[in-house]
């Protein structure tokens, strides 16, 4: 494209104590295009966008930002908003307890003098929702909407500010296929109306589907900018530039061996959620054998996470009925502690909400669920703790200057790895992984898959919950399909085709 750039970032360098997150990065975005930004975890993508949007104000980085040819120096997000830039973060920033319309106009209220004009607000919110093709009542509370809809509300919020440049940081990471497709469609629509978009994503298929231009970052540096209209963008090319080497088999091979004894069995499993006031699991029966990876496929909201939680000591207080056997013994776990003692571990899908403690450092997070292992007579052995943390840092390739770094300072994908490390350190017999590779780059995914293979070869069993069908089919020995709180099918991997699984997941 030869249109003049709407945005140019020149020689951007940003350092944190101990980390050079961006090193002389250049980035050009043409007017009216969809520009994808890709790169490994910790490559500096989010940081670059935070520099652009004024989260890191002028003076805390070096280099220049030019918007429509004019040098910009933002003191904060407000300034960049005034200039027509809106950013939607990796972690959504809506307020769950407020309504849709309140959220859309939060900080940008429609007022008559000091008084908010709610009628006008609701009307305008309705218009914005129509723009993003979201059919919800503007008076609904955010917490009652699914993630996909929340994402659209975020975009509606951005659009209400009459923006020129929309930045989305991994917008589809938490979305199911339908919602993702819907979102991509919407972005195309916005492009046609002249809004320029920058999108960060680890889902290369999406990037291929939507990008006009792709910029690859690696180690805080710009590797290259590729033009899709000249045929420069392909999955292979992207991976090669991102990782610096070629990966030809995304799912590492493993022999599907004869599985061992049954490790976990549930029968006639029902769960009632008092908070929602309805039954969320109906008559679920499933089993997992030793040395097996069992995939759990299903749409988001189908009850997969609830199933995992209800098995894992039921921390949310569902009323559970049914039979649970672990290694042949009938059990009923009062709390996660009991489940962990029995050898069950659960890596949550929502790492912020109930996985990691962001203001604590890497080592403290990794050892938290198994402190006894590094303690003698209840005294924590500091050296042992550092040693353990460093082992996981190496084996999971967690990018952090030291294990004493606060987890909130790590990139999204590396936070996910810390979470994984924490549960591996529990050394469970059965590991339940809920969306284990969400927000993780291709290279790191490969590492995690390899690790999973190694673990089952050593005799661990894994339940893998995932919305990414290729991942479930690529890694599992056997697949259960969940739909509306029921198991609608069980397929050995040889018979599990994407069509069959999707059919069962939607019925």
């Amino acid at each position: 494209m030869n249109t003049p750039p709407i945005l140019e970032m020149r020689g951007i360098t940003k350092e944190f104590p101990g980390v050079k997150a961006l090193d002389n990065v250049s980035f050009r975005v043409a007017q009216g295009e969809i520009h994808c930004l890709v790169g490994e975890n910790g490559a500096g993508k989010s940081t670059l966008m935070k520099v652009l949007s004024g989260v890191y104000p002028h003076g805390t980085y070096s280099g220049d930002i030019l918007l429509n040819g004019q040098v910009q120096s933002y003191r904060g997000i407000r300034d960049s908003e005034h200039a027509g830039i809106a950013i939607i973060y990796q972690e959504l920033a809506l307020i769950p307890e407020l309504t849709v319309y309140e959220n859309i106009f939060l900080g940008n209220e429609i007022r008559n003098g000091p008084i908010v004009n709610w009628n006008e607000t609701i009307k305008r919110a309705g218009e914005m929702l129509a723009k993003v093709r979201l059919k919800v009542n503007p008076a609904a509370k955010i917490k009652d909407l699914g993630v996909g809809k929340q994402q659209l509300v975020e975009i509606a919020k951005a659009l209400s500010r009459n923006i020129k440049l929309l930045i989305l940081d991994e917008p589809t990471a938490a979305l199911n296929e339908d919602d993702s497709a819907n979102l991509l469609d919407l972005l195309r629509g916005l492009r046609d109306q002249g809004v320029t978009c920058i999108m960060i994503s680890h889902k290369l298929k999406e990037v291929l589907a939507i990008a006009d231009t792709v910029t690859v970052l690696r180690d805080g540096q710009t590797i290259c900018t590729l033009d899709a209209h000249k045929g420069e963008v392909s999955e292979g090319a992207l991976i090669k530039h991102m990782v610096g080497r070629e990966i030809d088999n995304i799912y590492p091979q493993r022999e599907h061996k004869q599985p061992g004894d049954v490790v976990l069995e549930v029968r006639g499993w029902n769960a009632y959620d008092p908070a929602l006031g309805r039954e969320i699991l109906h008559n679920v029966s499933m089993n997992v054998r030793r040395g097996e990876i069992v995939g759990v496929a299903g749409l988001m909201g189908s009850g997969r996470t609830e199933l995992a939680l209800s098995i894992f000591g039921n921390p949310l207080g569902y009323q559970v009925k049914g039979e649970l056997r672990v290694k042949g013994e009938q059990r009923s776990f009062r709390d996660p502690e009991a489940a962990i003692k029995a050898g069950v571990a659960y890596v949550t899908e929502d790492r912020k909400g109930n996985g990691l403690i962001l203001i604590q450092d890497v080592k403290e997070n990794i050892t938290l669920a198994n402190l006894q292992a590094i303690a003698k007579n209840s005294m924590i052995d500091g050296n042992a703790e550092i040693k353990v943390a460093n082992e996981y840092r190496t084996s999971l390739n967690i990018k952090t200057p030291t294990v004493e770094q606060r987890v909130s300072n790590l990139s999204g994908g590396n936070q996910q790895k810390v979470c994984l490390g924490k549960w591996l350190f529990v050394k469970p017999d059965l590991l339940i992984l809920d969306e284990p590779t969400r927000g993780i780059d291709v290279g790191a995914k490969y590492e995690i898959y390899t690790l999973m293979n190694r673990l089952v070869e050593q005799g661990m069993s894994i339940i893998m919950i995932s919305s990414e069908l290729p991942e479930v089919l690529g890694m599992s020995d056997r697949v259960y399909i969940v739909s509306s709180g029921r198991i609608t099918g069980e397929l050995p991997i040889a018979e599990a085709t994407p069509e069959k699984v999707m059919h069962l997941a939607t019925n």
């Binding site: 805390t60 805080g220 489940a339 403690i357």
Partner: protein, 329 residues
């Protein structure tokens, strides 16, 4: 992947220094003390320092417990009343002729029991700590009045008064016994917080309860333990106070619960939980006491002390906020 560039971008030295609230308070403490010694001439006189140390000791011991409660994101308003109760219980038993080795532990136990009740209500029944401990404050204060029939208990045996009044030789130094007790308790609590599994759980609980629960830790148990500790330590402080004053009054330690919370906050304990240290609490208690003593020496009326402490809290919180903002850059 970001490379290690620790050498080129390691934080400047001043950052490391102000990185800890404790050091800021320490500086403030030295500044105020220096000012006072200039103004009064006798601030650093040995007797004054010894008195200061005694007064700080029992106050700080009680503040360690409350500090722990604040660390887990709770609050304990019953500490002042517990101090009075424990002192009074011991004193009454001594009057009945019980030996000191029995009377003091019973006093401690009474505090621990009150703390246990707080802990069970907060942890097991999920009641807001502010309400629970406010109610408990009333209940316990009421108990002190009915136990003593409203009259102070005097004539405490010398062996008991020694706890708060004696000095002992430590090498060439004559050190007040309560100060030694405080240092001992401080070391123990500090060890507990910094090096034990329970300590790690306490900090973590104040930062993110949910994550701790998912990690398989029963947070309600930790709450019970911490509130019990708070009661126990308040009792310990109360007993030393009683012994130092030589009289157990039902009205003793009135309003101390707020002073104690203030000392913890001044010492860098975050009311949101998850941040603070024993050293900080000691410094906070010291700073409060120094300002008090200084004002007495300078001849200000008592009611101005209250205002001064209030202003100091605001000042310290402001400094803390500023410090955080600079550091998060």
């Amino acid at each position: 992947m970001a490379r290690d560039v620790a050498t080129s971008t390691s934080p400047p030295r001043w950052r490391l220094l102000v990185a800890r609230q404790e050091l800021v308070i320490l500086a403030l403490l030295l500044l105020v003390s220096a000012g006072l010694s200039l103004l009064t001439g006798n601030f650093f006189a040995a007797t004054n320092l010894l008195n200061l140390a005694r007064n700080v000791s029992w106050f700080a011991v009680a503040a360690f417990g409350v500090g722990m409660v604040i660390l887990i994101g709770g609050i304990d308003l019953s500490s002042g009343a517990v101090m009075a109760l424990a002192g009074l219980a011991s004193a009454l038993l001594l009057q009945l002729g019980l030996p000191i080795w029995l009377a003091v532990p019973v006093g401690l136990l009474s505090g621990a029991l009150v703390g246990l009740c707080n802990g069970v209500l907060v942890g097991m029944f999920n009641t807001p700590p502010f309400i629970v401990t406010l109610g408990m404050m009333g209940v316990v204060r009421g108990m002190t009045f009915s136990l003593s029939a409203g009259r102070p208990v005097r004539d405490l045996p010398p062996a008991f008064r020694a706890l708060g009044q004696d000095d002992v030789w430590v090498g060439p130094l004559l050190v007040p016994l309560p100060l030694l007790t405080m240092v001992g308790v401080a070391l123990l609590v500090s060890l507990l917080l910094r090096s034990t599994v329970l300590g790690r759980y306490i900090y973590t609980l104040g930062r993110d309860e949910r994550a701790l629960q998912v990690a398989g830790v029963r947070t309600e148990r930790i709450k019970v333990v911490v509130y019990t500790f708070s009661g126990l330590l308040a009792a310990c402080g109360g007993i030393i106070m009683t012994s130092w004053l030589g009289v157990a009054a039902p009205t003793a330690a009135a309003d101390y619960e707020l002073d104690i919370i203030a000392a913890a906050v001044i010492g860098g304990t975050s009311l949101f939980g998850g941040e603070g240290s024993v050293f900080g609490v000691v410094l906070g208690a010291l700073l409060m006491q120094v300002v008090r003593t200084g004002m007495v020496l300078l001849g200000f009326p008592t009611y101005l002390q209250v205002g001064a402490i209030g202003m100091m809290i605001m000042l310290v919180v402001l400094i803390d906020n500023f410090r955080r903002r600079r550091l998060s850059r």
